[in-house]
């Protein structure tokens, strides 16, 4: 069985001390160990930004792609090798700004894979500009008078777009977050885990203390039913998405893989690709 150490690399982190992403990394590593997945059977596709460096610090197959394109890349990867545990990971800018279009389509396509968003409501690596999840009025280097735009509500957006699994985590609660990530990996479909992951350098508003105070833990609310789509949206509207825990899990929605005609148990990369001559001759018949 794999151990936590198997998922670690010897690379020194570039993240600022206290960065929320450390908690996400630890939770991801713990989830993989808890699920008993071997490092070589995991592929992480990371985006651009501070969060995109996560692949540098975890021992598995890693692909650090261009800005905003983790989801289609991870989709291609997963569809040709279904045996891999495929996780896309990036920040709120990567996923909801430049990659926003892919996000919607990944949700409705429902490819069996996991998407972890490290949401710090700021652009960190470019040194502090407003992000799509920054609240209105939020002052940054690019919005010195305060953000005049309204934030994206990723959890509501996800559910509205047809998500089959939506969770919200908080990076300082590794126990809950690792459990949510493990559930997301086990979910047979597209699973979103949006993690509040504070930026200690550029976001002085949405801090650890602030999150601790405002976040409502849905996992501790026995009256909350995460399989009720309407109730989930209602809760997200009421709380302005200041929640953590399992938000929504659709009962029995088939994944893209389950629906695609002729999709096989054996991963594409392991199949014999030679086309029998008789088959090819048959294909040519339609051109005569």
């Amino acid at each position: 069985m794999p151990k936590l150490a198997d998922f670690k690399t010897n690379e020194k982190s570039w993240w600022c001390p206290g960065c929320g992403d450390f908690g996400v990394l630890a939770s991801l590593q713990k989830a993989l160990v808890d699920l008993g997945v071997e490092p070589h059977d995991v592929a992480i596709v990371a985006g651009i930004g501070c969060s995109g460096k996560i692949g540098n610090y975890i021992n598995c197959y890693n692909f650090h792609v261009v800005h905003g394109r983790t989801l289609p890349t991870a989709m291609g990867l997963k569809l040709v090798n279904r045996d891999l545990t495929v996780i896309a990971a990036g920040g709120d800018g990567d996923g909801y700004a430049i990659g926003g279009g892919h996000f919607l389509h990944a949700l409705r396509r429902n490819v069996d894979m996991t998407y972890i968003v490290m949401d710090n409501q700021i652009y960190g690596l470019t040194k502090g500009q407003t992000s799509p999840t920054s609240k209105t009025g939020f002052k940054t280097r690019s919005t010195p008078e305060g953000n005049i735009e309204r934030p994206i509500r990723p959890l509501q957006l996800a559910i509205a777009a047809g998500a089959t699994f939506v969770a919200a985590g908080f990076s300082s609660d590794v126990k809950q977050l690792s459990s949510l990530i493990a559930q997301a990996i086990q979910h047979k479909g597209f699973a979103l885990v949006n993690v509040y992951s504070p930026c200690v350098t550029f976001n002085k508003v949405n801090t650890y203390d602030w999150y601790k105070e405002v976040l409502i833990n849905l996992d501790e609310d026995e009256s909350y039913d995460p399989t009720d789509r309407g109730a989930a949206l209602q809760k997200l509207i009421e709380t302005d998405e200041r929640v953590r825990g399992l938000v929504y899990k659709a009962p029995d929605q088939p994944s893209f893989q389950e629906l695609f005609p002729g999709y096989r148990e054996e991963p594409i990369v392991h199949q014999d690709w030679t086309m029998p001559q008789e088959d090819f001759a048959e294909l040519l018949e339609q051109f005569r």
Binding site: F63, P72, A74, L283
Partner: protein
């Protein structure tokens, strides 16, 4: 009666009036009778309305270009006559539906046959069969056996119901009988076809077949004219072999999905046209730096921007050679026929795996969409070569405590490539500059070593690519006075232009470039050394291939102490492919000017 070896036929009407499917039926009939065909569709970017036409060249020998002359025009409306009558030749026929009271423009040398197509179609069941009636008339004019038409319509329409099949047969018979009764005795007919079974297909079909035969099992693409048929065709083939096709939300998704699949070890393809190529540029750079195989097909169309989406052009040469940012090695294959498209697409996958980088297949609208006769496609010529992959044992032997040297600096520039799922092969693939382990590095020495490694992977001479065909084809005399050079689908018009020049006593040669990068510089230089004049004919405004040749081949010749012949650029960018006579005229102008001067 005179027998002819080549005839041309065209049907025109509004889009949505079955113009394409009627042309298709005639093409299939001719193919089964053993003729060679070359189809040429003109259409616009709309579904209903707007003039469209389908011209078919029918020959007893291979045909690879269309001409400005026309023997038979079937007109469903007056606009078809107004737009196309100038092509009709002396002795030609204009078959027009009496329904719209056709008018033959003054000076048109053809004979107008006002035929009650709609009325006869109505008599056998439905006015929709008007076009089939016109095929009956056409069969009589061209001297083709009606039974061959009957077989094809029964096969096509009999599937719906035997009754519909029989109605269409009746429509054919009615048209044929009407022609027999009312038309003058034909003065010519097509010489009989050889009856040999061949294929008719378009370049997009050949891309899909070549990909599937080469082991491609993943396609992600976004619909775009004139590339969509590649995705559609793969959607009909790949599920049978466990493969997957995804209609992506945009071209960026399409290319990155393919790169993801390539990283995992699958063979992946995306097909697009100019606008899609523009959207893919950033990801193409990623595939180069992270060293991931992927095959990208560009069916060139009129640009820039939306340009002329349904019109032919060859204006992406520079975009394919120099697109993306930073310095990257390029492989751009440019098939000129449907047959070559099949083999070069298959080759592209081997090259992508071998050199671990994107490989482009550049076609153009004429090649992508025009149906042409293909003798046969031989799958036994397709070999799957996966390049520098490793067994689990090899990986275990090479793995180090710090990880796996995925980007090991080697003499060839090609590094060992573990695939996700292989134990101890874990590494970081990244668009960031990296060291041998894939870890981020901005060390100047490492940077230069990595750049040089990636750039030396791809050979400078396309002969070293080990392709299914020669990177440069030449037809003509040992020392041509005029050497015509081109790429892509212009192989037909240039080849025919060469024959025209030869018939007029000129020593003309034709060199066709099949690989745009790496360019066959030495092969071209060798030919140029024996030529007096060179004309590079291409469908773009800048003379993109000309500039490339002038710079690269000219430089190579000067370095070798060879005399560079006079280089001329012939460009056409009005949305239509070259006509052979246009190229021949340019060649004559160049040579006569030279003689006079």
């Amino acid at each position: 009666m005179r027998e002819r070896r080549l005839a041309s036929w065209k049907i025109g009407g509004e889009q949505g009036q079955g113009i394409d499917s009627t042309g298709e039926l005639l093409a299939i009939v001719c193919n089964r009778l053993g003729y060679y065909i070359y189809g040429y569709r003109q259409f616009s970017s709309r579904i209903k309305g707007g003039h469209s036409n389908y011209k078919i060249m029918i020959g007893t020998e291979p045909v690879a270009s269309t001409s400005s002359e026309l023997d038979v025009l079937v007109a469903i409306d007056q606009e078809t006559i107004d737009r196309n009558h100038k092509e009709l030749v002396e002795g030609g026929f204009l078959v027009a539906d009496a329904h719209f009271e056709p008018v033959l423009p003054e000076g048109c040398p053809a004979q107008l046959l006002s035929v009650p197509l709609t009325q006869m179609a109505q008599e056998v069941g439905s006015p929709l069969m008007r076009n089939v009636v016109s095929l009956g008339v056409s069969a009589y004019i061209l001297g083709l056996p009606l039974d061959a038409f009957k077989d094809v319509v029964l096969q096509r329409f009999g599937k719906k119901s035997p009754e519909v099949g029989q109605q269409n047969v009746a429509a054919l018979e009615k048209g044929y009988a009407y022609a027999q009764e009312h038309l003058p005795e034909p003065t010519w007919k097509l010489a009989a076809g050889d009856g040999k079974s061949r294929l008719i297909m378009m370049g997009n079909d050949a891309v899909a077949l070549g990909a599937a035969a080469a082991g491609c099992r993943f396609c992600a693409a976004y619909p775009i004219t004139p590339a969509s048929e590649v995705m559609e065709s793969l959607m009909s083939i790949l599920p049978r072999y466990g493969g997957v096709v995804v209609q992506a939300e945009d071209e960026i998704s399409a290319i990155t999905a393919c790169i993801g699949a390539g990283f995992a070890g699958a063979r992946a393809i995306t097909a697009t046209s100019g606008p899609g190529i523009s959207l893919m540029q950033e990801a193409i750079g990623l595939a180069h730096v992270a060293e991931i195989p992927v095959v990208i097909v560009d069916t060139q169309r009129g640009g820039p921007s939306t340009g002329m989406p349904t019109k032919h052009e060859q204006s992406d040469v520079w975009a394919l050679l120099y697109g993306s940012h930073g310095d990257t090695p390029r492989i751009v294959l440019a098939p000129s026929t449907v047959e070559e498209t099949f083999y070069l697409t298959a080759d592209a996958f081997n090259l992508a795996d071998k050199y671990q980088c994107p490989v482009f297949v550049a076609t153009d609208l004429s090649l992508a969409l025009n149906k042409q006769t293909v003798e046969d496609l031989d799958i036994t010529r397709i070999k799957i070569d996966r390049g520098h992959l490793l067994t689990d044992e090899e990986i275990a032997a090479q793995a180090e405590p710090d990880g796996f040297r995925r980007y090991r600096v080697t003499e060839s520039g090609i590094s060992p490539r573990p695939l996700p799922g292989q134990p101890k092969g874990q590494y970081l693939a990244t668009g960031v500059e990296h060291n041998e382990f894939g870890k981020v590095s901005e060390d100047p020495r490492n940077r230069v070593a990595m750049m040089d490694k990636r750039l030396r992977k791809v050979p400078a001479d396309p002969a070293a690519l080990d392709l299914s065909l020669e990177p440069l084809a030449y037809t003509g005399p040992e020392s041509p006075d005029i050497l015509l050079v081109g790429f892509g689908s212009s192989v037909g018009p240039i080849g025919d232009a060469r024959k025209l020049l030869e018939a007029e006593g000129l020593r003309a040669g034709h060199a066709h470039v099949k690989v745009l990068a790496p360019l066959p510089v030495n092969q071209l230089a060798e030919l140029f050394a024996r030529a007096k004049h060179v004309i590079v004919a291409e469908n773009n405004a800048h003379g993109q291939l000309f500039a490339l040749i002038e710079h690269r081949v000219g430089k190579a010749m000067r370095e070798q102490g060879l005399t560079v012949p006079q280089l001329h650029s012939l460009r056409k960018y009005d949305g239509n492919p070259f006509l052979p006579k246009e190229i021949a005229a340019a060649a004559k102008e160049v040579t006569s000017y030279a003689q006079a001067g």
